[in-house]
Amino acid sequence: MLAELGQVSLILALLLALQQSVLPLWGSYSGNQQLQLLSRPLSYGMLGFITLAFVLLTSAFITQDFSVEYVARNSNSLLPMQYRISAVWGGHEGSLLLWCLVLAIWIAAVARFSAALPLQFLARVSAVLGMVAAAFLLFILFTSNPFGRLLPTPADGADLNPLLQDPGLIIHPPMLYMGYVGMAVPFAFAIAALLGGRMESGWVRWCRPWTLTAWAFLTAGIALGSWWAYYELGWGGWWFWDPVENASFMPWLIGTALVHSLAVTEKRKVFQNWTLLLAITAFSLSLLGTFLVRSGALTSVHAFASDPTRGIFILAMLGFFAGGALTLFALRAHTLKPDTGIGLYSRETMLLLNNVLFAAATGMVLLGTLYPLLADALKLGKISVGPPYFGTLFIVLMIPVVLLMPLGPVTRWRQGNWMELRQHARNMALAAAGIAVLLLLLLNPAGVRGWLGVIVAAWLMIGSVWYLWQRSRSSRDGAPRRWEFGMALAHFGVGVFVVGVSMVESSEIQKDLRMQVGDTVTVGQYDYHFADSRNVQGPNYLAARGVFEVRRSGDTELVARMLPEKRRYAAGGSIMTDAAIEPGLTRDLYVALGEPLDGENPAQVWSVRIYTKPFVRWIWGGALLILLGALLSASDRRYRLQQTASARVITTPAAPAGANAGA
């Protein structure tokens, strides 16, 4: 009965979404304020019903209601509680419901916190978001109903894919979707601006905190995914250029261009067309990613069970939203004022370069991801494009980005001064050289690429510090403002990330060994003693577990006891390698059990894989700093102050919510 209630509440949410797509928009053209004001209660109602559906599906998982087909396919009576909850988004249908929930949260947040926007503009933004919600709800109800019943009811479920039974996977999809779906907000703002005919000059400023927040979530989601792949796939890599990773990476790259482009457009009112196009593209790439993951057109680790009707549906959605938006762009963009007055050594030029490079990187990833499909369509045979293509080209495109990154923020708007810029560059280069020497002595990377990477990282980190120092010297109260600090933090994070990547790629040590209980081996600076091997019963699996005692060479003090496992899951009988990882600021130790090598005495002799991964945490640490920097900037008072100021001018008697804007 509860499952049916879930379905009904999805239908009700759809009805509200359909009203939201039509009524406020109609009101914005006919001038009917009552209709325009409907957008807020409709948003809240939609959020309420989708939340209800989500809670009902979750409760079906918690109470193990295997009469619901989706639960029976993705859960099992032995599944521990935390994975019963994350199993809600472990399959196609449930993850789509999560997607809708996240979208409803964004829509309600826009309705709640944008009271300072002109009513007509807000009505159009809400209507576009309502259309997106309606499309996804239709998609769920017609092709991917998570509430379908299974008769007769099976005695037990098929179990959640063991790869997904992991703490990282509990939060990875929600974060990623917050980012993915959040790109719908700048998209809706861009469409509303285009519908307005003349460029609503305010839209860019209103849009910035939303875009930064969505982009921050996307950063978090991608970093979590990479972290998960690192420890769960048991392969020791952290990025695979898998089609699905690319699907989330493309909106991130365009989002990166967009947050920078918004800065120029807000400050100098230039590149308006370009900013609009980026906002449209970012969301279109989110939809494209959805298509690639769920249609079965490409194969990947993450691919959901594919279904051609779903593919057609998403393609139609992509055609409607991206096609419609781009057509609108073609019709309306010429009404915007042309760009004027950009000097060669100006911040505008720097940000334009950023945009061009990130757009090119996106194009490169898009081409590499779709090339197998293209080759197939043109009968060139199936081809898989691998890491060599992506890795090489991506580094080539990112070299100018990292070299210019410290220079951009210290360049003046409009007409920069070459002499001044050169002065900055020289000072930063000197400081960076000092730091680089220090870092190289400390970290001692192996190989030319490691050296270059560390030097670049020093340049990036010094650039951020230098910028903050410059800002605090020139600001009145001697402290940089919050958004300036956020930007510097994010750019510093890129430096930290580069340290991690360069060290791991250049200096990791890996050994494959045959080890018997009692053996001790030395890998890097550590001795690994294979102390014991035993069988362990987990909640829904049986595991062989090795016990490794790790000491620094020549030292008796125990650094870590590592417990790698080889698990066999009860339902389905899949075998998973659970690597043991001893994390550290400057290195991770990584031990994984391979196969038992002695048939007569299987517990005693194993093939064992041992890694030392220097500075691998810095990869995710850098991403964390980028994310914090973005959130810090997004929460800067300048956006809220401006909103309150404009609210005072624009608020009409019929808009009662202006009081919220400053809160």
């Binding site: 067309n273 389905g572 391979g594």
Partner: protein, 178 residues
């Protein structure tokens, strides 16, 4: 003008491509490979461990599963458990075709995840893969005792495909004639 129309035009082209891709994704399941019902192409490949040379005709006499894999292929990692389960079921031997891979990487991969294969043939340049019409790893072929290809799976071989199509097909084969 052109500037503004270009994005739509590029997007249209993209949509056409995606649509074609989708059609092909459907057909992968519907239209059987032209090789089905035909003899497996001839090959003579060395094995991964040791210098043994294995020819197509050496494998005649009993049905076997030919699994195309590589260490660089994430999908192979996913289906590995299923392939291991099939090998352990003892129903038929699983032969690995290590496709366009570096031998050291392949060995490391097997060490890490386990080796379900009775034999592993090394197809370093992918030429035999071309003869088999391999799109990309992973792919799995069922070859019967007479050397005729009876089934082909493009992409990950999951438990459902195994239970619903492949295993019944194997059990219906005349089986071991040697």
């Amino acid at each position: 003008m052109l500037n503004r129309i270009l994005p739509v035009a590029v997007f249209m082209a993209l949509c056409v491509l995606l649509f074609v891709g989708l059609r092909m994704a459907d057909q992968k399941d519907i239209i059987p490979s032209p090789l089905i019902g035909k003899p497996a192409p001839e090959f003579a490949l060395s094995t991964l461990d040791g210098d043994q040379l294995i020819r197509r005709d050496d494998l005649l006499g009993q049905p076997y599963l030919l699994n195309v894999w590589a260490s660089w292929c994430p999908g192979c990692r996913v289906e590995h458990e299923q392939i291991t389960a099939i090998a352990e079921s003892g129903l038929l031997p699983v032969i690995g075709l290590n496709y366009k891979d570096a031998e050291d990487d392949a060995r490391r991969w097997l060490n890490q995840f386990g080796n379900p294969y009775q034999q592993i043939l090394v197809d370093a340049d992918g030429k035999v893969g071309i003869d088999f019409g391999v799109y990309g790893a992973p792919e799995t072929f069922l070859v019967d005792a007479d050397g005729i290809i009876r089934f082909k799976q493009v992409g990950i071989l999951d438990q459902r495909t195994w239970e619903t199509s492949l295993r019944p097909l194997i059990q219906s084969l005349p089986g071991d004639e040697s």
